[in-house]
């Protein structure tokens, strides 16, 4: 093979492989809303909210929360009450003790995960991940705009290591969630926490 024909072959390969690679990449990521990051937002901010969602059994599940960065750490609280009368989470109360992380699971999105440790009335102490999405101010009542979801991981016997999505991320039936802009005090820790340590598990099943 002459030098000229070798160059031509390489050029042909590049012409085939580069567009092919791009197509493959597009197919692989088709349908993915954004690249998962699980990073502390930078600059960090915070989220507040209250309201309720409808569970898979058709009952109310109420929540009230605050979470974000403050003075080099995290702050806030998450409270949740499930009004199901049947099923695994019937009557579940979740009351946070500490906020251990505040993540932006999808880079550049208005989705935030508040993670921490909580007491429950059914599963002892758990790690939790409350997912919020602020899509603007509702016009009335609060239904159908913002989103909320909750996942827990047991840390007390006999539930240690067990994980469950209590409510997958869904539209509020009432209430509001606000993602607030950063201010000079909303700084996170210099070393970001581990997602598994702070939240107890990954976000599989929680949805968006």
């Amino acid at each position: 093979m002459t030098e000229q024909s070798r160059s031509r072959t390489v050029a042909r390969l590049i012409c085939i492989l580069v567009p092919g690679g791009l197509l493959l990449a597009v197919l692989m990521f088709k349908g993915t809303p954004a690249v998962k990051a699980h990073i502390v937002p930078s600059p960090c901010d915070f989220t507040t909210g209250g309201g309720f969602v409808i569970t898979d059994n058709g009952n109310h599940a109420n929540f009230g929360l605050v979470g974000g960065c403050k003075n080099g750490g995290f702050f806030g609280h998450v409270n949740f009450v499930d009004h199901d009368t049947t099923g695994s989470f019937a009557g579940l109360h979740v009351s946070s003790d500490t906020i251990d992380a505040y993540f932006e699971p999808f880079a550049g999105s208005n989705v935030r995960d508040i993670c921490g440790t909580a007491d429950t009335n059914l599963f002892g102490t758990v790690k939790f991940r409350a997912r919020t999405e602020d899509n603007g101010d509702p016009t009335s009542g609060g239904a159908g705009v913002d989103k909320f979801g909750l996942k827990i991981t047991g840390v007390s016997p006999p539930f240690t290591g067990g994980t469950a999505v209590v409510v997958s991320t869904r539209f509020l039936a009432g209430g509001d969630i606000e993602l607030h802009k950063p201010n000079p005090s909303t700084t996170g820790p210099s070393t970001p926490p581990s997602e598994f340590t702070a939240c107890g598990s990954d976000d599989s099943g929680l949805g968006l």
Partner: protein, 207 residues
């Protein structure tokens, strides 16, 4: 074509350009700083009157903030005031920036009985905000409100009032002070001589 530089025009243009570039910096330098700041969120504040005096109870109350760049929050999974009120997921927060104060308060599963009148709601949320130099704003979200089991049609307007025996219920009660500070009471129940109950109060002021 031959262009000839006009020296006086060039100098005038340069002065104009420097003045234009300096304009925003002068504007920023002249921005006023806040001297009065107030922020508070309270999930429930109930005053009950009796012959023994007035007993006031606050649930999930942030307390008052009075400086910039601070945040306070309070929350509880359930809360009650004896013989008056039960509620879930009570949550409040208030926070200040150098040029803004925002507050929020929310209550779930409200079950309130005042002077024999039952008031229930699935969710009650109040929000208030004021940016420096602007008038305060506020909003509330009340879902599933019922009086003695009868659903109440909400207008969405500020200060909607419903009369009850001996008193009234104000829904989405909003007050703006002379300095622009905003106070929003999502629900405010008053029965003369019996009780004064605010459910989900948010206050924000900066001037």
């Amino acid at each position: 074509m031959h262009w000839k530089l006009n020296r006086p025009a060039l100098i005038a243009g340069a002065i104009l350009l420097v003045g234009f570039l300096a304009w925003p910096m002068r504007g920023l330098a002249q921005t006023t700083s806040a001297s009065t700041i107030t922020g508070q969120g309270t999930a429930v504040q109930a005053s009950v009157y009796s012959i023994l005096g007035t007993v006031t109870t606050a649930l999930a109350d942030t307390g008052v903030i009075g400086t910039t760049n601070v945040a306070q929050d309070a929350g509880q999974v359930t809360g009650s005031v004896a013989s008056l009120l039960n509620a879930d997921v009570l949550s409040s927060s208030t926070y200040s920036y150098a040029d803004e104060v925002d507050s929020l308060s929310s209550v779930g599963d409200l079950n309130l009985i005042v002077a024999g009148v039952s008031i229930t709601a699935n969710s009650v949320v109040a929000e208030a905000s004021q940016a420096l130099g602007a008038m305060g704003t506020g909003s509330s979200y009340v879902d599933g409100l019922a009086i003695n089991g009868t659903p109440v049609a909400l207008t969405g307007a500020a200060n909607q009032t419903i009369w009850i025996p001996g008193g009234q219920i104000a829904i989405n009660e909003r007050t703006i002070s002379s300095t622009g500070a905003a106070v929003v009471n999502a629900l405010h129940v008053t029965v003369t001589g019996v009780a004064d109950v605010v459910v989900a109060m948010a206050k924000a002021g900066i001037s």
